[in-house]
Structures are given as structure tokens and as C-alpha cells.
């Protein structure tokens, strides 16, 4: 069973990419939540959250993402989710309506355009 990982890269002063991979279940979220919140919602910036490597997404992972997206939004920043062809994660996001409130993109170019908009 895959572990959970988090990496980030600052692409510009106000643009950050956070890559999550593995299982975003209760155990996995417990491992990355504090770091994710710190990276995603500490200041007003554009944040691309790359979920293409996420193999399992539970509601605890959704809560973590929504919580940071709201905090970022309140600070004047913006979060976009990058999925690639991750149909498992896409199905979960669509089912609970997250894709209606946080922009979801299939490729990096579209994600960058959504962040710029």
C-alpha cells in the first residue's frame, strides 16, 4: 500500500506548485496536513495542487484541501487542482461537488491559465 508524500516548488514569487502523491486517507492526511496547510494557505498566492499522483482520496483529504482553499481565498489567493487523467480522484471530487467550487484542470497549461484568470 503506497505511502503519502508532499513536495513543493516555487515557480515564481507568487506561484507555488504542491505535489501530493499516494493515499490521502486518515493516515496519509495525518502525515501531510500541517505541511500542506502551511505551504498552501500561509499567504496570498497562486497555488497549483497537483493530485495526479494521488491513488486514493477520502473525505478527510477533501476536507484538508477545502480548508486550505478557503483560507487561501480569504487571504486573496487562489487554488487550482491539477488531475491529469486521474479518474478515481476526479470521480470523488465531482461526487461531493468540490470540482464546482475549486477549479479542476486536466493539464498544467490549463491550470496555469486558470490561476492567471
Amino acid at each position: 500500500m503506497s505511502s503519502t508524500s508532499i513536495e513543493h516548488e516555487d515557480l515564481a514569487e507568487d506561484l507555488r506548485c504542491i505535489r501530493l502523491a499516494g493515499r490521502l486517507d486518515m493516515v496519509g492526511v495525518g502525515e501531510i496536513e500541517m505541511r500542506f496547510t502551511s505551504l498552501a494557505a500561509s499567504k496570498a498566492m497562486k497555488v497549483l495542487v497537483d493530485l495526479t499522483g494521488v491513488s486514493f482520496l477520502a473525505s478527510v483529504g477533501l476536507r484538508c484541501i477545502i480548508h486550505s482553499a478557503k483560507a487561501l481565498d480569504q487571504k486573496g489567493g487562489k487554488m487550482v487542482l491539477l488531475l491529469g487523467d486521474n479518474t478515481v480522484v476526479r470521480g470523488t471530487l465531482d461526487t461531493v461537488g468540490v470540482s464546482e467550487i475549486i477549479p479542476v484542470c486536466h493539464d498544467a497549461a490549463a491550470a496555469m491559465a486558470a490561476l492567471a484568470g
Binding site: G30, F56, S59, R63, I66, K70, G91, T92, T95
Partner: protein, 142 residues
Amino acid sequence: MSCLEIRAEAPELRRASAWLQEHGERLAVPPDQIDRLEVCLNEVLANLLEHGGPPVGSQPIRLQLDAITRAAGAGVRLVISDGGLPFDPVVASDKPLPASLSEASPGGLGLRLVRAYTDGMAYRVLDDRNELSIEMHWTTRS
């Protein structure tokens, strides 16, 4: 029929997921259905850990996976039995979907996933234990 007993601890959710994947494959459950059933199992167990109260930790959680006969429609039934505080997810109502990020609330997402991914759900209290049965079908009933 396949059975597993787990403790009410977060790391046990992964043992339960591995068991479900292994035995779902043995029962020829289609991969996408196993993935959805795994989400449901994870949500039900996570809910138990968060809201089951002190009683849930005093007894093992029992899982049972059965194939449903073709006469009733090809499918699978997962039964989750626990000693936690009573909670009937069948009658619990879903919160409306948020219209904006500012309206989004963190609660109720797991139950919405379980409802969306299952074809049938039944709850009862048996011998002072909660018993939740969830079904999935991948062909129409004949």
C-alpha cells in the same frame, strides 16, 4: 465469504483496504467497483473512529464480504459490524452541495460519497452492535 476483524485505530484502515482489494479481486469484483467500495469502507470506518465514542474501541470491528448471487444481480455485499455509539446512516440526510468555496463546510462529505457509490444500504442494531450492510451491483437485476 471473507471476514476480517480490525481494531478501531487509524492504521487498521489500511489493513482493511488491503483485505478488501484482495478479496474483492477473488470475488471477481470489477476494479472500479472495488475502488468505490474501498472509499465507502474507508468512510464508514473513519466515521466510526471520529464519532463512535469510547465504546467503539472496546470491541473489534468485524468486516464481511459476500458475493451476491446472479439471480439477485451480480454484485457484492459488505457488512461492517461495530460496538460504537448507534448511528443510522440510512436515515441521516445529506447537506446540500455548496454553491461557492465560502459556503463549503467540511462535514458530511463521507456520507455523500457512500450514498453515491452504493446501490443499497441497510442498518440495524444486533446484539448491541451496529451492523451496516452496503451493496454494489454491476449488472442490472434480472
